[in-house]
Subunit: 446 residues, 2 copies
């Protein structure tokens, strides 16, 4: 049996490892277009900001091609998959020498990942204009930052907010431009202002409700043109989201979902026999809505890759789905969310109610106590827990979103959350930790 | 209707508040033997250690008698309940003036709490020998510590370990004596040594496997006699556990459980009609074993008090039970546990398996990453999640025990834990957060 995997980062390498464990005899080949495999892309902002020992991007590499080869997995770098003949069971691969070959497969995994969205203004030859998704992206940005003074980040999502902190940590001036009325627009409205406040306390010049129309400069960028005037900058980081790489899937005749990412079943199989997909190119089942969504995150890619690997190698694994958990840090703030926001619940046609609670993470009288805000959302009538959002001034407290994430996976109710025997000691929480207090209040509205 | 509550700390005041909300017309009277009500006893070590603004014990008081009176709850301080006539429906109360009165009740709550165990050696007139459970205890200890230099803590449980840090923070020499072979003996054996190591790094002289036989001194204590010789100390803190105060319950003919604490049903009712019990004097249902246990903790007392208050006032509430969650901090270390340890599971007759995992709380390449150890326990055959123990060098990471606590409340399996969509970003966790990795490994053993 020959298993061919296109893409060698999170999903692809997880699949390869699991397939090997499942089937010691299979031929397993990974074609990776770039020069790096199996790296922690989420660590790139931190390597850029000096939070990784030696600021070494190599430390983000979890396993090298050599280590994979020792496990009997063939890794071919610089190999671009350009087409699939699903009837013949071959994938056309262009190698580093420019020549193409038809590579046969019994099972094919599309783990082609995602690419940063580049709006028209960012499709430029100007130097100093960057995106951040891969190690080469980070290396190029790092090079630019060495003689930078003033950086304009376009986009106030995860990457923009993480990078704002890291660039300030490098001593740079930072302007952050966001098209929406507020940063962190994934959160419900009441939680966004504290995020902006943390950015501003950290010295970031935040401009919201501002659209970028173009760039200025000759050779190197000198400014960002917006509907609110020109923003001077010697470096521009475009962080307006990512989109799934689906060219190969389309070439293979694989059906895409409504999100534009590859549609898969709970075994990570596409609708073309023999072809699976996993990671940032694919949808995943949202366990709260029961519908497929495109929320490309690292843990999802790892899980889906494992499931795909087991199944391609003849095993039987299923992906349980996600609940949309995310977390990020910007300056002292931790921001966590899981399940549905009130806005998302309404979009999904659910009758939802939310409560907001501002309190402290530790006992109020303890010196360590810092402000925390939680918004908890439940379904009216059924009492089902739908989701939560946490903004915490001591960033670790945002990780308590995991309590909600774990309960959402079991279909728990708000009452179940309230009944949870959460840990209490004064340096860690109030007697009733804030998720419990929020649950108590929400119960009265459901 | 007249509701009489004996004991005005966590359970008693929670009950009073809930009873008032449930029944605006009831007479509600609280008799408290001491001078303080409604205070956070768990905060006492932190007030002693300077972690509370102004080191003010008053800041631990959540509500004053005056505030309770404004809510129509009568609070009588310095009133010792000495007897109950359940047939007549009266409780005999000795007031501050020394006179006793028979106070009639329709519903009586025993919220008499617990008292520190005082072994024979601690039953002494020597000055400088202390226990720590109440505000007066803390005030007396604080006074002694002002001219102290060398403190011997007897007992390596929660209070002993918390106080070891706080006393070092006050600049004192600290010797900790523990009878068992290791401190933190509530944990399974592999997790105890790191706790000892943290104490020793913090400058505590730890002596384990040592039994105390007596004290030396005239007027003020000068030393602790042990089976391993004399330990010089000008102050001794005896922290060898607490026991439920059940004199009044026994006087009322209320049945005690096997633990020695008051047996209650899930409405917090005793077996004597009209008499309920809640808090540190009562047992609680352990949801993992389905059996009553005596694990006196603040959240349990608050919950049980609320349930008792609602029911006494004519409502209908049930206590869901606990899962035995606890957490504490000593020096940089956070220690969390929930459910059953391997030892407890075996004592309960369960076929249990455990895995130990030593990793980091944040992504391994991130500067913030600190060592963390988790032991996860599940039931063979059924695959049921039974419990976890976490020892974390960045103390916040121990609060991730809440994921296990929440899942235990829903009867979840180890697979459910593994399937949990926990939050990941490099400053917070590895892609697979450590509870997930532990679950993955444990699944292979079940």
């Amino acid at each position: 049996m020959r298993i061919v995997i296109v893409g060698g980062v999170a999903a692809g390498m997880s699949a390869a490892s699991r397939a090997r464990r499942q089937n010691p005899d299979a031929d397993i080949v990974v074609f990776e277009a770039g020069e790096f495999i199996s790296y922690a892309a989420c660590g790139l902002p931190y390597a850029l900001g000096g939070e990784v020992e030696g600021s070494d991007f190599g430390r983000l590499v979890i396993r090298t091609p050599g280590q994979m080869r020792q496990r009997g997995i063939s890794v071919r770098l610089g190999c671009q998959a350009e087409g699939v003949d699903a009837r013949a069971g071959t994938v056309t691969v262009r190698g580093p020498d420019g020549a193409t070959r038809a590579e046969p497969y019994d099972r094919l995994l599309l783990a082609t990942g995602a690419e940063p969205v580049r709006p028209p203004f960012a499709q430029t030859d100007l130097q100093g204009v960057h995106v951040l998704k891969s190690i080469p992206d980070a290396q190029a940005l790092d090079e630019t930052l060495r003689d930078a003074q003033r950086v304009c980040i376009v986009g106030g999502g995860y990457i923009g907010l993480e990078m704002a902190e890291m660039l300030r940590q490098r001593g740079l001036s930072v302007v952050l431009v966001e098209r929406m009325p507020e940063v962190a627009s994934i959160l419900d409205e009441p939680l966004r202002a504290p995020v902006r406040a943390a950015l501003e306390r950290g010295g970031v010049d935040v401009r919201t409700g501002v659209s970028v129309s173009g760039l200025t400069g000759h050779g190197r960028v000198t400014g960002v043109q917006t509907d609110a005037g020109l923003i001077r900058a010697d470096t521009v980081l475009v962080a307006v989201g990512i989109r799934p790489r689906t060219e190969l899937a389309r070439a293979a005749g694989v059906t895409l979902g409504a999100s534009g990412a590859i549609a898969v079943n709970n075994r990570q199989e596409t609708d073309v026999p023999g072809i699976s997909a996993a990671g940032d190119c694919a949808e995943a089942l949202h366990r709260v809505t029961g519908r497929p969504v495109y929320i490309p995150l690292a843990l999802t890619a790892n899980r889906a890759g494992r499931v795909a690997g087991v199944n391609m190698a003849g095993g039987d694994a299923t992906f349980p789905g996600i609940v949309g958990t995310g977390i990020f840090k910007t300056f002292e703030l931790g921001i966590g969310l899981s399940g549905l926001t009130q806005a998302q619940a309404e979009q999904a046609g659910l009758k939802a109610a939310s409560v907001d609670l501002s309190t402290t993470d530790a006992a109020g009288y303890h010196r360590a106590a810092r402000p925390v805000h939680i918004r908890l959302t439940g379904e009216k009538g059924s009492g089902r827990l739908l989701g939560a959002q946490i903004v915490a001034e001591e960033h670790h407290a945002a990780k308590r979103i995991d309590v909600i994430a774990a309960l959402l996976g079991t279909g728990a109710s708000v009452q179940d959350l309230f009944d949870s025997d959460l840990a209490y000691a004064p340096p860690f929480s109030s007697t009733w930790d804030f998720p419990l207090v929020a649950a108590d209040r929400l119960l009265r509205l459901l």
